[in-house]
């Protein structure tokens, strides 16, 4: 039942900045099972968006995939020729961008942009394409009379629906959504997430949602991949990672969010410090400088991803003590700057 659609192993993506090389993604591994929504969560600069782009192999001019595999239905996307990769783009892997405003061409109508994909990439005839356009608009709940409108004539939420329609046009197996609701107001945000979930379940596709917001993950995802400074810190089912986190970073993130359902008088706890500069990453665990549970080995040896539960992995030397650390992490003074032994 949990057949794997995509399996990323030791993925490494590097940017050339001046003379130096920055590994924005430094050996990331995770799986996307068929028919699930996977949340790729982390702060800015953790490499989550780079992974999303790398999966389409359309990356910045100064970036390159320098290692690892991306096994998609038995094919390694890293080693496919550009021609083979292009054949696969959008037909099997589609993309929903953060800002639909900037990602729709302003000078063409929405229908013309849907048509472009349907006819040039899907091989549909004029009449079939028209029918499919109407179908897609119905699917995402926009009046088909608006097909002939230009992108700027839609509101932010509507544009995001157009972007979803566009992504679903060729019935892809995997849809990558890069911060799909970040630019939207809470109400529209919720409506778009509902729609995504509904369509995903109805069509049985897999979705990767890239986000900085744990709430989005909690609302919609089946699985979570937590990233920190170019590496996967923890990955597992959404339930497990959020209720029983095994990496101190995940534990810290949970404390840092205000919670409308929680008690009123709670105090939020920040994680002191800032993520490391990836041009000069610390030698051991990348979270070590901010971790309240740091050990001497943490500063020297990079912890590998290890199984901590069913389908649940974490990259922490003290993952075995997770139960104890979780209780400590819930206390405010644990994080108050003084790093404990």
């Amino acid at each position: 039942m949990t057949e794997t659609l995509l399996s990323v192993r030791d993925l490494r993506v590097s940017y050339k900045v001046g003379a130096s090389r920055i590994d924005a993604v430094d050996g990331a591994s995770f799986d996307v099972p068929r028919g699930t929504i996977v949340g790729l969560v982390g702060e800015s600069g953790c490499g989550k968006t780079t992974i999303a782009k790398a999966l389409t192999r359309v990356i910045a001019d100064n970036a390159s995939i320098t290692g690892g595999q991306m096994m998609f239905e038995g094919r390694d996307l890293v080693s496919l020729s550009e021609r083979q990769m292009n054949a696969l783009r959008w037909r099997e892997i589609a993309f929903i961008p953060q800002s639909a405003m900037n990602s729709l061409d302003p000078v063409y109508t929405v229908e013309s942009q849907l048509n472009e994909v349907l006819r040039r990439r899907g091989g549909l005839g004029r009449r079939e394409a028209r029918k499919r356009c109407e179908e897609l608009f119905e699917l995402v709940g926009i009046d088909k009379g608006r097909l002939s409108d230009y992108p700027h004539q839609f509101s932010g939420g509507m544009r995001q629906r157009v972007a979803i329609a566009l992504a679903l046009a060729l019935n892809p197996k995997l849809v990558i959504a890069d911060e799909p609701v970040t630019a939207l107001d809470v109400i529209v945000q919720r409506q778009i997430l509902d729609q995504l979930r509904e369509l995903q379940a109805a069509l049985g596709i897999s979705v990767i949602i890239v986000t900085h917001d744990i709430s989005v993950v909690a609302y919609i995802c089946d699985r979570t991949v937590v990233m920190y400074a170019g590496k996967v810190a923890e990955a597992g089912s959404m339930q497990a990672t959020l209720t029983e986190p095994s990496h101190p970073y995940t534990m810290g993130l949970r404390n840092a969010f205000p919670d409308l359902q929680g008690a009123a008088s709670g105090t939020l706890t920040p994680i002191e410090g800032a993520p490391p500069n990836l041009a000069f990453p610390p030698p051991g665990c990348r979270f070590a400088p901010r971790c309240p549970f740091v050990l001497e080995t943490c500063r020297q040896v990079n912890p590998p991803l290890e199984t901590v539960g069913p389908n649940h992995v974490a990259a922490c030397h003290r993952a075995g003590e997770a139960v104890e650390l979780r209780t400590q992490a819930a206390r405010v003074d644990t994080w108050s700057g003084k790093v404990l032994a």
Binding site: S155, G156, V186, Q191, A218, A256, L260
Partner: protein
């Protein structure tokens, strides 16, 4: 001492209407107008913390700019300590500038990138006539207030050498350096990374309590507002929809819009309701708001009266609500 219950700020039917389009469109008559703030009345007591909550385009940021006299009202009036802001000039304006301060949304935009932290923090001191010899001490004190450890090391750095969290603390230090009575914070953590947000919020809360500040916290996020404010004002398309104690609004919102807003707030828990929101699809269009109640086109409870009559803010229990559903109650 000062009576804690005297209002510090009285906003009386404040309006901020923008003309869109060039000067020529004004000559043609009936120019298109955006009502960023449209008849807002709020009274804020000394020492109160008020959250201005709403989606983009609801007028919350414009409200903040009016309060800081970065814009002038196009109608109505705002009184600060009994004095009208629109007629403030010269020395009075200067005094006001040291009493009311602003914390900006994007710290990287709020400081001049060519200025060192010292230069940035000196500017308000200079304008207040603090002699150069006393400035460094005040700067250090302000930086300590916002809990930047070892403040000396930051003085001669440039903004790009600081992280977002550190810079936002500098922005807060600048706002606090003249010991104001009143602070408006416009989404001060929305540009920051999740792991450092809590730190900035905590500093804000602590400093406010310690200095006894009157504070307005502008945000689209009810969870954040709840963390810092005891009172919340929900705005929609330039108008106040609901105004009352934050906990009451969180637990039992009255206005249909507030209901939808509360239901939509994301929570970081696996177990949560996935019920559809009690609101229609679509988005507010500030240029073409509906007649009557501006929310009626998305409101599931709208009835005939909503289209013809603009609902006025009226008392409903602990709160004030602008909705015809509560008309009978009075």
């Amino acid at each position: 001492m000062i009576d804690q219950f005297t209002p510090l700020i009285e906003i009386n039917a404040a309006q901020l209407h923008y003309r869109v389009g060039g000067a020529m469109s004004a000559l043609r008559g009936n120019p298109p107008v955006v009502k960023a703030v449209d008849g807002v009345s709020i009274v804020i007591r000394r020492g109160e913390s008020v959250g201005l909550l709403g989606e983009s385009g609801c007028g919350k940021t414009s409200m903040g700019r009016l309060l800081l006299k970065l814009e002038d009202v196009t109608g109505g009036d705002i009184l600060f300590d009994g004095q009208s802001l629109s007629t403030l000039k010269g020395a009075d304006l200067k005094r006001y500038r040291s009493r009311a301060q602003f914390i900006f949304q994007n710290p990287f935009d709020a400081v001049n990138p060519r200025f060192t932290i010292r230069q940035t923090l000196s500017e308000p001191l200079e304008n207040a006539g603090i002699p150069p010899s006393q400035r460094q001490d005040k700067i250090i004190a302000a930086l300590e207030l916002v809990r930047l450890s070892e403040p000396l090391q930051y003085l001669d750095r440039y903004p790009h050498q600081l992280s977002g969290g550190q810079l936002q603390r500098v922005v807060m230090a600048r706002a606090l350096i003249l010991q104001p009575e009143f602070v408006v914070a416009d989404e001060p953590v929305s540009m920051l990374d999740v792991s450092v947000r809590a730190g900035v919020l905590n500093v804000f809360r602590d400093v406010r309590d310690r200095l006894g500040l009157t504070a307005i916290y502008i945000s689209h996020d009810l969870a954040l507002v709840r963390y810092v404010c005891e009172r919340t004002i929900v705005m929609y398309l330039g108008k106040v929809m609901e105004d009352g104690p934050t906990e009451d609004i969180v637990h039992e919102p009255l206005h249909p819009y507030a209901k939808a807003l509360v239901a939509a707030v994301p929570v970081p828990h696996p177990d949560q309701s996935h019920d559809p929101l009690p609101i229609g699809r679509g988005a507010p269009d500030p240029r073409n708001p509906p007649s009557g109640c501006v929310f009626r086109d998305r409101c599931p409870y709208a009835f005939d009266r909503c289209a013809v009559e603009i609902p006025q803010l009226q008392q409903a229990g602990t709160r004030k609500v602008a909705c015809h559903l509560f008309d009978e109650a009075n």
